[in-house]
């Protein structure tokens, strides 16, 4: 924002602070409902002084000055082993790795053990039902379950980071069970 403008605003604000007068602090002299002139000259009303701007409150707030920011995400090119599934699916409200995904996990374990410099992020996801923060914690549990399987197979913990996207990154859109089932998952992301 323009510096001159800010200085001007500050100056105005200071002026106002120095002499701000609340109108209702001025005692009301006459409360009779008679003889009210319809013009600027008030009779018996508490004074709202039209001419002296110093009696007015200068309105300044940070509200007019929200500075917009643009964030750029870093979408890295996927790496890691070819021809191995990179997604494990879960049942509703479950963190148990189903038997059909055991071979997928073993293949990743094999790759990580033979490539000790490879690093992986296990990304947990949930379906859209429930609170966003609680789903973030549930997705974390799924990623942690996959990590536990990998470490049991001998993968070093320093190679693995588990994170969660909760319900924020659904694989498919939709509010039916078939969509939910595809969204309850953990993904292998090689960094």
């Amino acid at each position: 924002m323009n510096k001159t403008f800010i200085s001007l605003l500050l100056a105005l604000l200071l002026t106002a602070c120095a002499s701000g007068v609340k109108l209702n602090e001025v005692p009301v002299v006459d409360k009779k409902a008679s003889s009210v002139s319809n013009g600027a000259s008030s009779s018996g009303l508490s004074d709202i002084n039209p001419s002296a701007s110093s009696s007015s409150q200068q309105v300044q707030q940070p509200k007019s000055t929200v500075e917009p920011v643009n964030s750029l995400a870093n979408e890295n090119a996927p790496a890691g082993p070819a021809n191995i599934e990179k997604i494990v699916y879960f049942d509703y409200d479950s963190f148990i790795i189903k038997p059909e995904f055991q071979s997928t996990i073993e293949a990743h374990a094999q790759y990580l053990k033979s490539n000790s410099r490879a690093k992986i992020s296990l990304e947990g996801h949930t379906d859209e039902r429930g609170g966003r923060e609680y789903n973030l914690a549930l997705g974390q549990k799924r990623a942690d379950a996959v990590r536990q399987s990998l470490t049991l197979l001998g993968v070093g913990t320093s190679q693995i980071e588990t994170v969660s996207f909760g319900e924020e990154k659904p694989a498919v859109q939709g509010a039916d069970e078939s969509a939910f089932a595809k969204n309850r998952r953990a993904e292998f992301f090689y960094k």
Binding site: I48, V59, V69, A73, G131
Partner: protein, 425 residues
């Protein structure tokens, strides 16, 4: 429940014609009827046509949304220097009358004055004059509404405070700061990746939130007036659920760096987090009590997510919710007397309110996808996200659930609201 909808857009169309076509549609939908609403007349301000904002309509919408007023339009312009003719106004069954004027100054600013009348005692309740540039005219209207609210209810008004929320358009995620009525929204952050859990700092200058722009949840602190932001927590694993301490010096956060989602406290300037909870399951969604001495949070340690309480230095944990098997997203009123949270009831997610003195729990809404409640700083309204006719919406409700209002503004996805603090004038 009796239901009426006040569509100001229609009224404004008649009054102002096409003079203000550039303005966004201004529409407040209010449903429900309160028991003890104060009837108040909002007269047209003399010279109001000279201002590009519909000041009296903004004031009326504010007061209506509070649930404590029932506004009407006497249909006459009365300025602040004129004593109203109470004999005729009495017939309109109002207890208060707001009068005022708008004058365009030679430097382009506007001088807005008001005077509030007690029409039962025919008494002058005082007034004030504001001088403002065009961008601050809505703020002036909210300030006047605040003063009317305070003069007639004795409680501080919240209309000049700000809220934050998130929208999503295809793959564009945006963090917004708007007036408490959802209008005048300004984008604070635009990202190709999700943003969740924005939370106002106690001084109203900064937002803490969780951004996924680094392909994992990382907590940022963002100064909204400068756009400067910093990473608060980017530890191994997930970093989420930031909640400010009442003094603004530290935040409670959920980290998975030690395995599992656990609650830590971290200095607002950064540094080493101190672990508060110790469980093998999920502990998340912390929120400080107003005195900072304790933290309410969600844990599945009992088998299902429930709300618990722990001293903010750590220590013995006390369970707070016992009904139902899914209670999340706790938030506290500033006086510490009320706990609002979300409970799964059947297939619905409902906003509930617990009186922390009596433990009595009430349902507040007729909607079924309620999320992320937060109290107005005066504790008289709750802001929450929900769905209305299949579309995401932000709503406010009174604590008795009798008056709810859908905030206007964004039309598509809108979520994750958080009500900011009182701002220092």
């Amino acid at each position: 429940m009796p239901r009426f909808v006040i569509a100001f857009a229609a009224l404004l169309g008649l009054v102002f014609g096409v003079a203000n076509v550039a303005r966004a549609e201004f529409k407040v939908e209010i449903s429900g009827v309160g028991i003890t609403q104060i009837p108040i007349g909002i007269s047209d301000f003399k010279g109001a046509d000279s201002a590009p904002q519909r000041i009296t309509q903004i004031i009326a919408a504010d007061l209506d949304r509070s649930g404590q007023f029932k506004t009407s339009k006497p249909g006459i312009a009365i300025d602040e220097n004129t004593r109203p003719d109470f004999t005729s106004i009495k017939t309109k069954n109002i207890d208060g009358l707001l009068t005022g004027s708008v004058t365009r100054l030679s430097d382009g600013r506007f001088d807005i004055r008001y005077r509030l009348w007690d029409t039962v005692r025919n008494q002058d309740l005082g007034g004030q004059s504001f001088v403002a540039f065009t961008p601050d005219l809505r703020l002036v209207a909210h300030r006047i509404a605040d003063q009317v609210y305070e003069k007639l209810t004795g409680d501080k008004g919240i209309f000049s405070t700000r809220i934050t929320y998130i929208t999503k358009h295809t793959n564009r995620h945006m963090l917004w700061v708007s007036d408490a009525d959802g209008e005048n929204a300004q984008a604070a952050l635009t990202s190709p990746e999700p943003i969740i859990s924005p939370s106002w700092s106690p001084n109203g200058n900064e937002l803490a939130y969780v951004s996924f722009e680094g392909r994992k949840p990382v907590i940022y602190i963002h100064d909204v007036s400068t756009g400067k932001r910093r990473v608060l927590a980017n530890f191994k694993g997930s970093n989420s659920a930031p909640a400010w301490s009442p003094d603004g010096k530290s935040l409670a956060v959920t980290l998975t760096k030690e395995g599992g989602s656990q609650i830590f406290i971290i200095d607002a300037k950064g540094g080493d987090p101190r672990r508060i909870t110790q469980s093998s399951g999920i502990d998340t969604e912390p929120v400080f009590t107003p005195d900072g001495s304790a933290i309410y949070f969600v844990s599945d340690r009992g088998g299902s997510p429930q709300i618990y309480r722990i001293p903010s230095s750590g220590g013995p944990v006390q369970r707070v919710t016992f009904n139902g098997n899914y209670n999340i997203s706790p938030t506290l009123s500033a006086d510490g007397k009320w706990l609002a949270y979300i409970s799964r009831i059947g297939n619905s997610f409902k906003l509930l309110l617990m009186d922390l003195v009596t433990d009595k729990v009430t349902t507040l809404t007729e909607t079924n996808h309620d999320e992320k409640p937060s109290f107005a700083p005066n504790g008289k309204l709750i802001l929450y996200a929900t769905q209305v006719q299949g579309k995401e919406a932000l709503m406010t409700t009174t604590l008795d659930g009798k008056i709810s209002a859908k905030l206007s503004g964004q039309t598509s996805t809108i979520r994750e609201p958080n009500w900011g603090p009182f701002l220092k004038p």
